[in-house]
C-alpha cells in the first residue's frame, strides 16, 4: 500500500496545487513542496527503517515471490483481460524511486523563482509527471506499466508546450509523437506476448511474473523483443531514435529539463533491464551485439555532435545521449559488473545531468540566451555558479571519486569481458567527453565577458539544490557499495534468468 500512497500523494498534491492558484500565485508551489517533502519523507523511511514501513517478507510471500522483492501488492482491475494492479519494488526500483522523488524536489527548487505564470497548472503537471514515473518504476503488470508509461507523457507535453522557449510547439510535438508511436509499438508487442502466453497456457494475464518465461515462437520472438527495445531505446535515447531529445531539452523550462534528463530517460534504461531482456532472453542474446554497437555509436556520434553545438542546452542534451550509450552498452553486456555499472551510471547521470540543465536554465533565466558564442568570462561575474558548473562538468566527464566514474568504469570493465573491440571504442568516449566539456568551461566561464553581462550569483535556494546533488555524487563516488548492495539481489536474479 505504501507504494500507492507515494503516487496518491503526488496526484492529490497536483490537484491541490492547481486549486490553490485561486488563492494567490505563490500558493501552488507551497502545496507542491509539501507533497514532495511528504513523499521524500516516506522514501527515506522506506530506506532507513524498511520493517516499520511494511517492507519485507509478508506481502511478498503472499504473492508467491521471494528474494529480491521488498514489497508487493496486488488487486483486481480489469479481470476481463487479466489486468490487475500489481505494484512492487526491489532494490533497483527503490533506488530509482528515491532518485525520482529527490530530483522532483530539485526540479521544484529550479521552478521556484522561474515559473510565475499559471503556476497552478505547472505544478499540477510536474507532480503528475513524477507520479507517472514512480508508477513506471513500480508497476509489474504490463498493462499497468504501459498505462503509467503514457501517464508520465502528457503532463510533460504540457510543461514543454506551455512554459517552453521559442520553438516549443515543434519540440513538444516531436517529443510526444516519438514517444507515443514507439509506445504503440510496445503495446502491440505486449499484446503479442500475452497472446502467446494465452495460447500456451490458456490463462489471459498481463502479470510480469506470469509472463516471464513465456515460450514465444522463435521467428516472432525477435520481432516482439524489438517492439519493446524500440520503445525503450527511444526513451533512453539511443541513436538513431534520439533526435527528439535535443529539441525537447533545449525548449523545455528548467524544471522540465531536470525531470526529463534526470528521471524520464532512466525509465527507458529501467524498461530494458526489467522487461526487454528478462522477457526475451534468447532473442536478447542474439540481439546483444547490435545493441552494444548502437550503444557505442551513441557514445561516439553524439559526443561528436555535442562538440559542434553552440546552444548550451543542446550541447548538454547531446552529452546525455552519449552517457546513456554507456547504459545501453552495460545492459547488453549483461554481466555483474556491467549491469552494476549501468545502474550506477543511471543514478549518477541523473544527478549530474539534472544539475547541468539547472545551471544552463539558470543562465538562460539570467541573460536570456543559450548561445555560447555570446557568453564568456562568467567566472568573474558569478563565481559560485561557475564553480558549480565546473564541479558538475568534471563529474559528468568521469572524474574518479565521483559517481559517474564508478558507473562508466564498471560498464567498461564488464563489457571488456564480452567484446574487446567494442569496449575499446566505448573507452574513446571518455576522451571525447573531456574535450567537449572543457570547451564549455573555456567558452562560458573563462575568457572575456564580451557582452558585459551582469548577473546575480546563485541564490541560497539554488546553492541548496546544487549542494544536495553534490553530496549525492560524492557519496556515489566514495561509497558506491551502499547502492550496489541494494541493486545486487535484483541483478543477481536477472543474471540467473539470462545465462
Amino acid at each position: 500500500m505504501i507504494l500507492v500512497w507515494l503516487m496518491l500523494i503526488l496526484f492529490a498534491g497536483g490537484i491541490g496545487a492547481w486549486l490553490a492558484e485561486s488563492r494567490g500565485s505563490d500558493h501552488p508551489r507551497a502545496v507542491a513542496l509539501a507533497a514532495i517533502l511528504l513523499d521524500l519523507f516516506l522514501v527515506i523511511m522506506m530506506l532507513l527503517v524498511p520493517d516499520a514501513m511494511g517492507l519485507g517478507g509478508d506481502s511478498v510471500a503472499e504473492l508467491g515471490q521471494t528474494g529480491e522483492w521488498l514489497v508487493l501488492m496486488e488487486a483486481d482491475w480489469i479481470p476481463r483481460f487479466g489486468v490487475s494492479f500489481i505494484f512492487g519494488v526491489d532494490g533497483l526500483s527503490m533506488l530509482l524511486v528515491a532518485l525520482t522523488v529527490f530530483l522532483g524536489l530539485i526540479a521544484l527548487g529550479s521552478a521556484w523563482g522561474e515559473i510565475k505564470e499559471r503556476s497552478g497548472f505547472f505544478y499540477f503537471n510536474l507532480l503528475w509527471t513524477l507520479a507517472g514515473v514512480i508508477g513506471v518504476f513500480t508497476a509489474l503488470d504490463l498493462f499497468l506499466f504501459f498505462f503509467f508509461w503514457e501517464v508520465m507523457l502528457i503532463p510533460m507535453y504540457f510543461i514543454i508546450a506551455i512554459w517552453g522557449h521559442e520553438n516549443k510547439e515543434y519540440a513538444a510535438m516531436k517529443f510526444f509523437i516519438f514517444t507515443q508511436v514507439s509506445g504503440l509499438l510496445m503495446l502491440l508487442c505486449i499484446l503479442l506476448l500475452v497472446f502467446f502466453h494465452f495460447q500456451n497456457s490458456g490463462v489471459l494475464t498481463f502479470s510480469y511474473f506470469e509472463l516471464l518465461g513465456t515460450d514465444v515462437p522463435e521467428a516472432l520472438a525477435m520481432l516482439t523483443m524489438l517492439g519493446f527495445f524500440i520503445a525503450f531505446a527511444t526513451k533512453l535515447p539511443a541513436v538513431p531514435v534520439h533526435n527528439w531529445l535535443p529539441d525537447a531539452h533545449s525548449q523545455a523550462p528548467t524544471a522540465g529539463s531536470v525531470i526529463l534528463a534526470g528521471v524520464l530517460l532512466k525509465t527507458g534504461a529501467y524498461g530494458l533491464i526489467r522487461f526487454t531482456v528478462p522477457l526475451f532472453p534468447d532473442a536478447s542474446v542474439a540481439f546483444a551485439p547490435v545493441a552494444m554497437t548502437l550503444g557505442v555509436v551513441s557514445i561516439l556520434y553524439t559526443a561528436k555532435v555535442a562538440y559542434a553545438q553552440t546552444d548550451l542546452k543542446r550541447l548538454i542534451a547531446y552529452t546525455s545521449v552519449s552517457h546513456m550509450g554507456f547504459v545501453l552498452l552495460g545492459v547488453y553486456a549483461w554481466n555483474a559488473q556491467a549491469m552494476q555499472g549501468a545502474v550506477m551510471t543511471m543514478l549518477a547521470h541523473g544527478l549530474s545531468a539534472a544539475a547541468l540543465f539547472m545551471l544552463a536554465g539558470g543562465l538562460q533565466h539570467r541573460i536570456h540566451t543559450r548561445d555560447m558564442d555570446k557568453m564568456g568570462g562568467f567566472w568573474g561575474v558569478a563565481p559560485k555558479l561557475s564553480f558549480m558548473a565546473m564541479f558538475f562538468t568534471v563529474a559528468a566527464v568521469g572524474m574518479p571519486g565521483l559517481g559517474n566514474f564508478v558507473g562508466e568504469f564498471l560498464v567498461l570493465l564488464g563489457s571488456f569481458q564480452v567484446s574487446h573491440t567494442i569496449t575499446a571504442f566505448a573507452a574513446l568516449g571518455l576522451v571525447v567527453a573531456a574535450v567537449y566539456s572543457l570547451i564549455v568551461i573555456q567558452k562560458v566561464f573563462h575568457g572575456k565577458n564580451k557582452n558585459n553581462y551582469k548577473m546575480a550569483d546563485l541564490s541560497a535556494m539554488e546553492m541548496m539544490c546544487f549542494g544536495l546533488m553534490m553530496i549525492g555524487l560524492i557519496w556515489m563516488g566514495m561509497y558506491p557499495q551502499s547502492m550496489l548492495d541494494m541493486a545486487e539481489p535484483t541483478l543477481r536474479n536477472l543474471d540467473v534468468a539470462f545465462p
Partner: protein, 488 residues
C-alpha cells in the same frame, strides 16, 4: 400479438407516442421551451422504460424486429444521442431562429429510425429504419435555412447528403434484390443456410449483391472512398445535427451491419473481407492525412470520424476469424467510447455556437484554456480520448481493437492502425496546443465568456464522466457487453 411482444415494443411505442404528442402540441401552441421539454421527457421515458418493465429477450416481435440485449444496447445509445441533441438544440436555436418546434419532431423520427435499425434482423426493417433516419436527417441538416444569418451552408449540405444518400440507398436496394433473387429470403439468418449448394453463377450474384450492400453501408459510415460528402455535410449542418450525424447515425448503422455480417455468415465470401480491409486501411490513412490540413474544427472532427470508423472496421473484419463473442464485445465498447467522446466534443462546439454564428475555425479556439477552463478541459479530455491516451475511454477502445486484431492476426491492418494513430496525434495535439496558447487580446463578445446553459453543462459533465469512467473502471460495461454478446 402476445403481451410479451407488446412489452418488448414499449420503447418504440413510447417514441412514436412522443412524436405524435409533440406534433399535435406544436400545432396548437408554439412554445420552444415546452416542446423541447416534452421531447426530452419522451426520450427519457423510452430510455428508462426497461428499467421498470423487464423486457423478454430475445424475442422476435413480428417478422420485422428482434428485441435482444444487443438491440437494447444500441437503442439506448441512439436515444441518449437523441437526448443530447435535444439538450444542445435549445440554446442553439433559441433567440436565433424562428419556428424551432418542428426540429424536435425530426429528432424523434430520426431516433425512431435508429432504434428500428438496431432491432432489425432482416432487409425490410433494415431499409425502413435507414430511410426514416435518412429522410429526417435531410430536413434536420437544412433546418436553419430561414434563420436571419445562415450559419454556413445548410441547404448545400442537405442537398449533398440527399443526393449521395439516395444513390447509396439505391445501391443497397439493388444489392438486397440480388441477394433475394438467389436466396428468396429477407432474413439475415436464413441467408447463411443457403450458402451451401450455390452454383457458380449464383455465388457470383451473391458476392455482387453483398458488395453493393457494403458500398451503401460504407457510404453511411463514410469510409474512404465513399466519404466525399462527410466534411461538407458536417461543416454545413448546424452543430447539434452534426453531433447526431457523427454518433447516432453511425452507431445504429454499425449495429445492423455487424448483425448482418455475423448472422448471414457473409464472411464466407472472401471477396467481402478483402473489400472491407481495403476500405478500412484507406479510411485510417486518408481520414487522418486529410484531417491534417483542416482549419475548421467541424471538418477536422469529420475526418477524424472517418479514421475512427476505419479503426472500428478492423474489429468487424476480425469477426471473420475470432469468436463472435469477442468481436461483438469490441464493437460495442469501441462504439460506446466513440459515441460519448464525440458527443462531448460537439457539445463544446455547440456551447460556443448558435445558429447565427458558429465558432468553427481553429484560430477561434486559441487561448480557450485561459478564456474558459471548463470548456477547454472538456475538449482536451475529448481529444485525448480520440487519440487513445490512457485514463480515457478511447484508450480501452483502442486496446480492444489491438486485442481483437492480434487475435485475428490482421498484421497489415494493425500496422495501418499504428500509422494512422501516429498521424492522428498530430492534429489532436495541434488543437490542444492552440487552446493552451495565450488568448489574443482583441476579442469582442467572446462566446466563451458567456454563461453556459445548464443543459449543455450537464451534458458535458456527463460525457466527461462517461469517458473517464470507461477509461478507468471499464468492468461494468464490459460485463454488460459480454452478457449481450453471449445472448446474441
Amino acid at each position: 400479438m402476445s403481451s410479451d411482444a407488446l412489452i418488448d415494443l414499449l420503447q418504440i411505442i413510447l417514441l412514436t407516442v412522443t412524436t405524435v404528442v409533440v406534433m399535435i402540441t406544436a400545432a396548437f401552441r408554439r412554445d420552444h421551451g415546452l416542446i423541447n421539454s416534452l421531447t426530452q421527457a419522451g426520450l427519457a421515458a423510452s430510455l428508462l422504460i426497461f428499467v421498470f418493465v423487464e423486457p423478454i429477450t430475445p424475442l422476435q416481435v413480428t417478422p420485422l424486429l428482434i428485441i435482444d440485449e444487443y438491440s437494447l444496447f444500441f437503442s439506448a445509445l441512439a436515444i441518449i444521442g437523441g437526448m443530447a441533441v435535444t439538450a444542445l438544440a435549445y440554446p442553439y436555436f433559441e433567440k436565433h431562429n424562428k419556428l424551432n418546434e418542428e426540429f424536435y419532431l425530426l429528432v424523434l423520427t430520426a431516433t425512431l429510425g435508429a432504434v428500428v435499425l438496431a432491432c432489425s434482423n432482416q432487409f425490410v426493417s433494415f431499409f425502413i429504419g435507414m430511410e426514416m433516419l435518412g429522410v429526417s436527417l435531410y430536413a434536420m441538416i437544412a433546418y436553419p435555412i430561414h434563420s436571419e444569418k445562415v450559419a454556413k451552408h445548410p441547404l448545400e449540405a442537405s442537398i449533398k447528403y440527399l443526393i449521395m444518400s439516395g444513390i447509396a440507398s439505391a445501391m443497397m436496394l439493388f444489392g438486397m434484390a440480388l441477394i433475394y433473387a438467389v436466396t428468396g429470403s429477407f432474413e439475415f439468418a436464413s441467408l447463411a443456410t443457403s450458402h451451401s449448394g450455390l452454383g457458380q453463377s449464383e455465388t457470383l450474384i451473391m458476392v455482387v449483391g453483398h458488395l453493393m450492400l457494403l458500398a451503401g453501408v460504407a457510404f453511411k459510415l463514410s469510409l474512404v472512398p465513399f466519404h466525399m460528402w462527410t466534411p461538407d455535410v458536417y461543416e454545413g449542418a448546424p452543430v447539434p445535427v452534426t453531433a447526431y450525424l457523427a454518433t447516432v447515425s453511425k452507431s445504429s448503422m454499425v449495429a445492423v451491419t455487424l448483425r448482418l455480417l455475423l448472422e448471414a455468415d457473409a464472411f464466407a465470401f472472401t471477396q467481402l473481407t478483402i473489400a472491407l480491409s481495403l476500405l478500412a486501411a484507406a479510411s485510417m490513412i486518408f481520414g487522418n492525412l486529410l484531417a491534417l490540413m483542416q482549419s475548421s474544427v467541424k471538418r477536422l472532427l469529420a475526418y477524424s470520424s472517418i479514421a475512427h470508423l476505419g479503426y472500428l472496421m478492423v474489429v468487424v473484419i476480425a469477426a471473420a476469424a475470432v469468436p463472435d463473442l469477442l468481436s461483438i464485445e469490441s464493437v460495442g465498447f469501441y462504439m460506446a467510447a466513440y459515441f460519448f467522446t464525440s458527443l462531448g466534443g460537439f457539445a463544446v462546439i455547440s456551447a460556443l455556437s448558435n445558429s447565427g454564428k458558429e465558432l468553427d475555425s481553429i484560430t477561434d479556439y486559441q487561448g480557450l484554456y485561459w478564456r474558459n477552463p471548463w470548456l477547454s478541459t472538456v475538449l482536451i479530455i475529448v481529444l485525448l480520448s480520440l487519440a487513445g491516451i490512457p485514463l480515457t475511454a478511447g484508450f480501452i477502445g483502442k486496446f480492444y481493437i489491438f486485442t481483437t486484431g492480434v487475435e485475428g492476426q490482421l498484421w497489415f491492418l494493425l500496422s495501418m492502425l499504428i500509422i494512422g494513430s501516429a498521424i492522428g496525434l498530430y492534429y489532436y495535439l495541434r488543437l490542444i496546443y492552440t487552446m493552451l496558447q495565450p488568448a489574443s487580446t482583441n476579442l469582442k463578445d467572446d462566446p466563451a465568456a458567456a454563461r453556459m446553459p445548464l443543459g449543455t453543462n450537464l451534458l458535458m459533465a456527463a460525457m466527461v464522466f462517461a469517458i473517464i469512467w470507461l477509461g478507468v473502471y471499464p468492468m461494468p460495461i464490459i460485463e454488460t457487453l459480454q452478457s449481450l454478446a453471449a445472448t446474441f
